[in-house]
């Protein structure tokens, strides 16, 4: 039986495939066009610029089930300088959508932290839509590791 390296590692883990991982690696992933479409829809056709929004994500995720991420957008959050929404996408997940944050003047700061699932090493993308229609984007690659003998 011809063995691929992936087969050897999968079997070396020793476990029968038990549905513990919410996103199984190897499943169909979000096509890049889908991600492009989602961003275009969100941005109302505007081309996202870089700047203003910072996405913080770990370089290496200890486990793909729980990856902490934060976003922060430079904005006074009052008057004309307001963040409307921030879209979070993952370009290698079975479905690229992760979350959409909505802010108001009462937010004080356009910042949020959450924990997300990543099926494999991929980019996490954050797109901020400002009240004046301008759009900004940040992207970080997160390496998702497969553990050893996880029990």
């Amino acid at each position: 039986m011809a063995l691929s390296r992936r087969h050897v590692f999968a079997l070396a883990a020793g476990a029968a495939i038990v549905p513990v991982f919410q996103f199984l690696p190897g499943r169909a992933v979000a096509a890049p066009e889908d991600v492009g479409k989602l961003i275009a829809e969100f941005a109302g056709g505007k081309e996202p610029q870089s700047g203003k929004i910072t996405l913080t994500a770990p370089e290496i995720a200890e486990n793909g089930n729980t990856v902490p991420i934060s976003i922060e957008v430079e904005s006074a959050m009052e008057g004309d300088d307001m963040v409307d929404q921030v879209l979070i996408l993952a370009d290698g997940n079975p479905s690229a959508d992760v979350a959409t944050f909505a802010f108001t003047a009462m937010s004080g700061k356009a910042a949020a932290t959450t924990r997300m699932r990543l099926a494999r090493t991929q980019n996490v993308i954050a797109v901020a839509k400002m009240a004046d229609g301008s759009v900004y984007m940040d992207k970080k690659e997160v390496k998702v590791t497969i553990g050893g003998c996880g029990g």
Binding site: S95, S107, R115
Partner: protein, 109 residues
């Protein structure tokens, strides 16, 4: 989970007018993504918290539309600018229509 989803919310008890405070929120929920299959190969149906909102004295502060890529026991940390004393109301909406809420008071001077 045999128990109903439980919220866990951390809000400062006091703040000065105009201060921006940080809220931390957790709720126990499996967030079944709809991607998993059981032993017989049948898809385990999706069942997640799909929306989270925070209001202060009836005004919207922050909300999140949630997809299955958010981890189990969803955690949200965000800010609120408080100008007066009052009550934060937090709401989590389940795919099955259930709504879970929590309220936290803050004293602002």
């Amino acid at each position: 989970m045999s128990a109903a989803p439980k919220p866990r919310v951390k809000v400062p008890k006091k703040a000065r007018a105009g201060e921006i405070v940080v809220l931390k929120t957790l709720i126990s929920h499996e967030m079944e993504s709809g991607q998993r299959k059981d032993k017989d190969g049948n898809v385990i149906p999706r069942k997640i918290i799909n929306k989270f909102t925070c209001e202060f004295n009836g005004q919207p502060v922050f909300s999140c539309d949630i997809d299955p890529a958010i981890s189990a026991n969803p955690y949200f940390e965000f800010s609120a600018k408080v100008n007066e004393s009052g009550t934060f109301k937090l709401t989590w909406v389940d795919d099955d229509g259930s709504v879970y809420t929590d309220e936290q008071k803050i004293e602002v001077d």
